[in-house]
């Protein structure tokens, strides 16, 4: 963690200073707390004591290069990868050992890398799978998702493999919303999308966070776009948190940008 000192901007010193877009500068209550989380693939350490928090009604962006551990972080939080150390606390409840299937019932929706569209099912069926665990769900909730994403509404009867990348991203975000999550984990939503589509999707996320109180933990390689929409940025390098700071200030820190974010 030597770099942390060099930049002098740890989470503690940043708290209460920033130019948060979420409204207010005070620290919001955490919906998700990750404490000292470590994970390994065999002998290879992928996460090394990661501590971060996703605040309620905010967008927290985790940034870093390929192999920094971003995807592993999300997969360990949602239980797909078992941690070797540390805890995950969701709404005050320790969920470190909870089965993956239970996470969504506790209020966590994880949209995995590569979007997780089930290509063989239709658009409508994809949405319905997302609400299965809730039992019967009214048609109005599906209509609301379709209102949010008119592009996929036109295609609700088609199999999902006919969708473009952007449409797939809309579908999985819509599907995640049907689970009524308290916190949404998004793994590289911008991957392979045209900048215009990325901007659209990020703008929509921002709107959902501001109007519906959704909380988002976003993992991105595209640091510039992510920081433009996020409230807080966390920089990950080789499985460790290097910096946690207000997103706007991270974007303005030239040394840091050059060292870790590549823009």
């Amino acid at each position: 963690m030597a770099e942390t000192g060099a930049h002098g901007s740890t989470a503690a010193s940043a708290a209460g200073v920033g130019l948060s877009k979420g409204g207010g500068t005070a620290t919001a209550p955490a919906v998700l707390e990750v404490e000292g989380l470590s994970a390994a693939y065999g002998p290879v350490r992928a996460l090394d004591g990661v501590t971060l928090r996703a605040e309620s009604g905010r967008i927290t962006a985790v940034l870093g290069a390929n192999g920094a551990g971003k995807t592993t972080l999300l997969r360990t939080i949602s239980g797909l990868v078992r941690p070797t150390a540390g805890r995950v606390v969701l709404n005050g409840e320790d969920v470190t050992r909870s089965p993956v299937e239970a996470m969504v019932t506790k209020g966590m929706s994880h949209v995995p890398e590569g979007r997780g569209v089930i290509a063989e099912l239709t658009v409508d069926e994809n949405l319905r799978v997302g609400s299965l665990f809730r039992g019967k769900v009214g048609q109005d909730e599906f209509d609301r998702v379709y209102d949010l994403f008119p592009r996929i509404a036109e295609r609700r009867g088609q199999t999902a493999h006919t969708l473009s990348g952007g449409e797939r991203q809309m579908l999985v975000i819509g599907r995640a919303l049907l689970a009524r999550p308290k916190v949404l984990l998004l793994d590289e939503p911008s991957l392979g999308l045209a900048p215009r589509i990325v901007a659209q999707i990020f703008a929509l996320l921002r709107k959902l966070v501001d109007t519906e109180g959704l909380s988002v933990l976003l993992v991105e390689q595209n640091a510039r776009s992510a920081l433009s929409v996020a409230d807080t940025g966390v920089v990950l390098n080789l499985g460790r948190v290097v910096v946690t700071d207000d997103a706007a200030r991270l974007a303005g820190d030239e040394d840091l940008r050059h060292a870790y974010l590549g823009f």
């Binding site: 797909l80 299937e101 969504v104 995995p112 997780g116 290509a119 299965l132 665990f133």
Partner: protein, 294 residues
């Protein structure tokens, strides 16, 4: 002309049983990417359980229900105990496990019920209908029953997968295990259920074949696993509708071979069809579109 009609009808009827068996293979392939070579032996076991009951004085229908229920239990137990440990591992492991299971179950049948052929009395007459003074040798009350039974199972399965929440959960588990888990679907349970349902359909195929051949030995399903597999590959291993069409096409084709070319060529013809399908259209007639990875 009369021979052609007879051969076609006979082909449709045996084809419907191939279809049922292929459907069992497809159900398992879709959910776990495993070709269950033990399917025939499992069906033989449940058929022998039914025979034991029928010999003890119970009716065919009691035997059928018990055979289907024991298929349900055996399928679930096999998935939980034997298949679960090799799921997600190298594909060859699962293949070897099902082959081993095939031999073990067949041996178990011999231990429990003996190796001798047993007579199987069909629930309906196997004597062909007469129209005027021509006899439709292959269309009898029993074969009509076979057709109806297979048709009912197919309709029930389609209804399950298309229109129920359970069916949607099973399909989601089959096509996107990890995503389904993240969405809160109990994927493990769905896979167990898939194997159990497949074993029920396989058991039905066993009971229907037994009623047509009238004699059964512990190995009586061995040829059906070959024909069922060819039918499934012909239709596309991923497609339930393909399994049904593949079964019917194979049944009719082999019936013509048997009628016009001779009985001994049937096995060879099945292999030729398999090779041609794999060469020309390896995904099968009803292969779903290749998944585009975005």
């Amino acid at each position: 002309m009369q021979e052609f009609v007879n051969l076609t009808l006979g082909g449709v009827i045996t084809g419907s049983v191939y279809a049922a068996f292929a459907l069992a293979l497809v159900l398992i392939w879709r959910s776990t990417r495993i070709v269950n070579f033990a399917q025939g032996a499992m069906a033989a076991l449940t058929t022998f359980i039914a025979i034991a009951l029928i010999d003890a004085g119970q009716s065919y229908w009691v035997g059928l229900v018990v055979a289907l229920l024991s298929g349900l239990v055996i399928g679930a137990v096999v998935e939980r105990v034997v298949i679960r440990p090799v799921e997600g591992g190298p594909e060859l492991n699962a293949v070897i496990v099902t082959l081993g299971l095939f031999i073990a179950i067949q041996a178990l049948i011999s231990v429990l019920f003996g190796v001798n052929q047993r007579a199987f009395v069909p629930p309906f007459s196997n004597i062909g209908f007469r129209i005027g003074d021509t006899t439709l040798g292959s269309l009898s009350p029993n074969t009509v029953y076979t057709l109806i039974a297979v048709l009912l199972v197919m309709v029930a399965l389609i209804a399950l997968f298309r229109f129920t929440r359970l069916g949607l959960a099973m399909r989601a588990s089959a096509f996107g295990q990890e995503v389904a888990r993240l969405l809160g679907v109990r994927v493990g349970r769905m896979l167990t259920l898939g194997w159990a349902l497949a074993a029920v359909v396989g058991s039905l195929a066993g009971m229907l074949i037994a009623a047509e051949t009238a004699f059964v030995a512990p190995t009586f399903m061995d040829s059906l696993i070959v024909f069922g597999f060819v039918a499934a590959v012909l239709g596309g291993l991923d497609s339930p509708i393909g399994a049904v069409v593949g079964g019917l096409v194979l049944g009719v084709a082999l019936s013509y071979v048997r009628g016009y070319l001779g009985d001994t060529l049937v096995g060879l013809a099945a292999l030729v069809i398999l090779v041609v399908v794999l060469l020309v259209r390896p995904g099968g007639l009803f292969s779903t579109t290749q998944t585009r990875r975005a």
